[in-house]
Symmetry: C2
Subunit: 580 residues, 2 copies
């Protein structure tokens, strides 16, 4: 069916732009076969603001994470032309552009799409900025939303594993209202960055079906009711009708044509198809040809998203959500996730590895990740004597609780950095197994485990996952899965393929069983997974609420930072250690 179009497509290209946590990546893809001909990455100038607001230097409270929207436009100006140049492709042969974004990453804008943080009078207001997906300061608001939804028996609640995340639109919107009502009042739209960037490209604000369903709680055509919203806070009653509701575009639909301004930014022809927005995880499934029921795709980078289509509607505890056609049309799309994975390894390498290791890595001409991985790979399972909980960025999977935090048990004076590094890798693998088991025990079978994303490059880590999961691991054979997925959707939006299934078949690629489990290691990991589960349930299900109390104490301590610390403490620097 699509074969007939191949000849014409050989000279046609689609651009996929993947907006990640720290950078945006543009890839030029051939429409006929998905060949990736050139790419370019553009780091966000302001990265993630999680300690101070760049505009003022003011300190941000704990758990905040903001971004600057103009950084996203800079990716269009910078990475797209460079990707075209790298590909050696004539821009006139590009027929479409598609984008994907982290989510729920959301910003308040004026009627015309101008971000409020770009108004001079609001540039010093943290709430005027983009709240990045991993802004976790709205947990108290999410707690109220969940308690009320449970009390009222809201029918949408089970579709989200019984809990909405503090990362999503409702919690972030409620925090905005209650902490900075003036900014809330100035907000015309509270818009997903996934849709805002499409708006910048084609001049039209279309809400994509994926974030509307997963992050905006649109189920069976309805958002949470005004009554529900008013019960949270009377001033919140109009949140959906005034700030959120907007025409919905299906994944792979054309949102509009490229504007003259966006054509000037990118060097692409005015008027070409701009695809409806999408989420970095979900857009990856077709890139991995994972469009059949039970094919779970884990997109492993700073965090891990799990997306899977199924013909079964199940209520999976702690899943992020199930949305009809949320990944591909005609199937239930499931999303689950681990809020910290590569982020945790990155934090560890940045904050917890001594100079001697940095020197050794430099002497070998490798990075610290490679150095630690090589050291960790020499160990037997269990040799380090550690077990960790991978909650450094909270838990958005089975427990859906962003006030949880990381734990390491088993530290001794012999514990070395590679030991903790390996324990953290293993902890994320246990977290993944917890999610897979939650699906299966809820009657939603997982038939294949496919990995995409940057962590696929770490073969040791992948082998740990295969051993812990006791499953073969298939691999998306592209280092730019989301961008490839965006390009596939763009090609569909331009009419090059009749639907995403056809586009995935022609342009996606998957290699099966690249890593297979080892029985003896898997047996040892069964024991360690049992320890993980004990700690998981103890700290995560009410056995000891210490993590919540520590958060509360931290917030209180943060609130009193202004009070003077006694002078003797300020001048107290003296040697610790010593004989004995």
């Amino acid at each position: 069916m699509t074969g007939s179009t191949h000849d014409g497509q050989a000279g046609q290209f689609a651009i996929g732009v993947d907006y990640g946590t720290l950078s945006g990546r543009a890839v030029v893809v051939r429409v006929s076969d998905g060949a990736e001909l050139g790419s370019a990455v553009s780091a966000y100038r302001h990265a993630v603001m999680d300690r101070t607001l760049a505009a003022t230097g003011a300190q941000l409270p704990p758990d905040w994470a903001l971004q600057v929207p103009s950084d996203y436009v800079d990716v269009l100006r910078d990475a797209v032309p460079r990707a075209l140049a790298a590909a050696g492709v004539d821009p006139h042969d590009v027929i479409a552009i598609g984008t994907d974004f982290t989510a729920c990453t959301v910003l308040p804008v004026l009627r015309d799409g101008t971000p409020l943080c770009e108004l001079p009078e609001l540039s010093d207001r943290p709430h005027a900025y983009v709240k990045l997906w991993r802004h976790h300061a709205a947990q108290p608001h999410a707690d109220r939303i969940n308690a009320l939804a449970l009390e009222r028996g809201e029918t949408w609640l089970p579709r989200y594993g019984g809990k909405l995340s503090c990362e999503w639109e409702l919690a972030k919107g409620l925090q905005l209202l209650e902490e900075d009502p003036e900014v809330y009042d100035r907000t015309a739209h509270f818009v997903e960055a996934a849709d805002w960037i499409v708006w910048q490209l084609c001049g039209t604000y279309v809400r994509n079906a994926c974030t509307a369903g997963y992050k905006g709680v649109l189920q069976d055509g309805e958002y949470p009711s005004a009554q529900f919203l008013a019960a949270l806070n009377p001033d919140f009653a109009g949140f959906v009708d005034d700030l959120v509701r907007q025409p919905i575009g299906a994944l792979g639909d054309r949102a509009g044509g490229l504007t003259a301004q966006a054509a000037a930014w990118t060097g692409l022809p005015e008027g070409i198809a701009v695809c409806v927005g999408n989420v970095d995880a979900h857009v990856t499934a077709p890139a991995a040809q994972a469009v059949e029921p039970g094919q779970l795709v884990a997109i492993m980078g700073t965090s891990t998203c799990h997306v899977m289509s199924s013909d079964t509607l199940g209520e999976v505890p702690g899943m992020c959500g199930v949305v009809d056609g949320g990944i591909v049309a005609g199937l239930w799309g499931y999303e689950a996730g681990q809020s910290g994975v590569g982020d945790i390894f990155g934090w560890f390498v940045e904050s917890s590895v001594p100079a001697s290791y940095a020197q050794a890595a430099a002497a070998e001409g490798v990075g610290l990740h490679e150095h630690l991985t090589a050291l960790a790979a020499r160990q037997q399972v269990g040799e380090h004597g550690l077990v960790a909980l991978d909650w450094h960025s909270g838990n958005r999977s089975v427990l859906v609780d962003h006030e949880l935090s990381g734990v390491v048990v088993g530290l001794t004076l012999q514990t070395r950095p590679e030991d903790v590094y390996r324990a953290l890798i293993e902890a994320t693998a246990y977290g993944t197994r917890t999610i897979v088991e939650a699906f299966e025990s809820s009657g939603v079978p997982v038939t294949e485990f496919i990995v995409a994303g940057g962590l696929l490059r770490n073969r040791f880590l992948m082998q740990v996952y295969a051993d812990v999961l006791r499953r073969p691991i298939s691999a998306l054979r592209s280092e730019q899965g989301p961008a490839l997925g965006s390009a596939i959707h763009a090609a569909v939006a331009a009419g090059a393929y009749p639907d995403v299934h056809a586009g995935a078949a022609a342009m996606g690629r998957l290699e099966r069983a690249v890593f297979v489990p080892d029985e003896s290691r898997a047996d040892a990991y069964d024991e360690l997974f049992a320890e993980y589960t004990l700690l998981h349930d103890h700290f995560g299900r009410g056995g000891n609420e210490v993590m919540h109390r520590l958060r509360a104490l931290r917030r209180r301590a943060g609130a009193t930072t202004a009070s003077p610390v006694p002078a003797p403490l300020e001048t107290a620097a003296a040697a610790a250690g010593g004989g004995g």
Copy 2:
């Protein structure tokens, strides 16, 4: 009574030699007033062997910690003459030498005192070396000793808080017998290093009352019976009679006169008084003038020992031991301890602080401990959101379980090295409070908290302790407390004072209430101490035996180290991390 001797003492000096974990320190002290006139430190050439045996490079199993006895003699040759030179004291004015040692630090020797590790045919045998106090590989043996003692209702058991430590003579001796019977059979004496060094000085093997009571389980004149030992292992029946029993010397007694050989090593006059051995912690109490009931002295260095005399005999859960006259004559001497304190901070700084911090510290011209302390001191109580368990070297206080291990709860992607450093400092303070509360709730009052040792120099740490304990902290005003204490005992052995009370009154020094608690910080710490206690009891009292299972798994994994690691893991070094 002692005043009459002062004139004659003005020109008299005593040498105190303090044998610590990593080095020995000699101090020249004026007998009349305790003035410290000169000192010198000599690091042990082999330090602590806890990964490999220096003689062969062979790997040691987990939890081992060995030393080389000739390193102790080198301290006599090196540090004593240098201390004399530094003091500008004529060696002929020195009337006595006293020593103190870590304990239970123990070695197998021939009849003449020759360490078995110095026999060429045994130099490759780990069991022929000194087992340092923090050798923790005899925990399984200690477990059997404790279970059997409980079962048989041994009357000495309550004198040790209900549990003997795996650090002590019985457990280490049983491990020696069962793991290397050939070395055991060659052993004529299993001797405390505290007594072995005195033997090297005066040619006479006298067992000091302190280690005999606290580490050798000598109570009311009796060791554990041959029947008890035989029930552990028939070949162990003669352990006490053949390898341990020896005449006992009281603290402050003269063991003998300095031999010609030792005079040659040290440059001191042959024949001067050599004092009976003592333990670094216990010997410090008189240096701090802590000879009255209820004055608890915490000697804080790599580990912390708590020693206190009392007129009350109580059974304190988990105390290390109570010995009649174990610290000063006429009172019950209590010992308690924390097996890792400065060690933990040292391990953290060595293994977990990134290059950027090392550079910042270097730029300020301070060490990493000072740098981290200064950063940590700026925080409010609870601001880091962490609570830790200080069991990196096991727990030898209330729980007496060296298979326990360290924990950090509350880690996030925002957690910085100074946060964990502060949490570890606080954890050791909570550990101290747990001990003080155990004494008081057992009817043994603590009237004053006195600190000695290297950590006293860290004023921030001391303030944390005052806040956590809600008590003023007094300080021993000597940086060389154990060596000063040894010199006091040496002066008594030489007859310069009639007893240790009199020597302490003349030569010791104490400053009261140097640090006082702050009410508001103490209130916040009460909350965190409650969290510590919850975790303490959960992981330490059977709520979750994960730490024991992790140790077992680690031992099993260590035992299979020889089995080949699959090739794909060896070549698996590839980048972790990557975009999201």
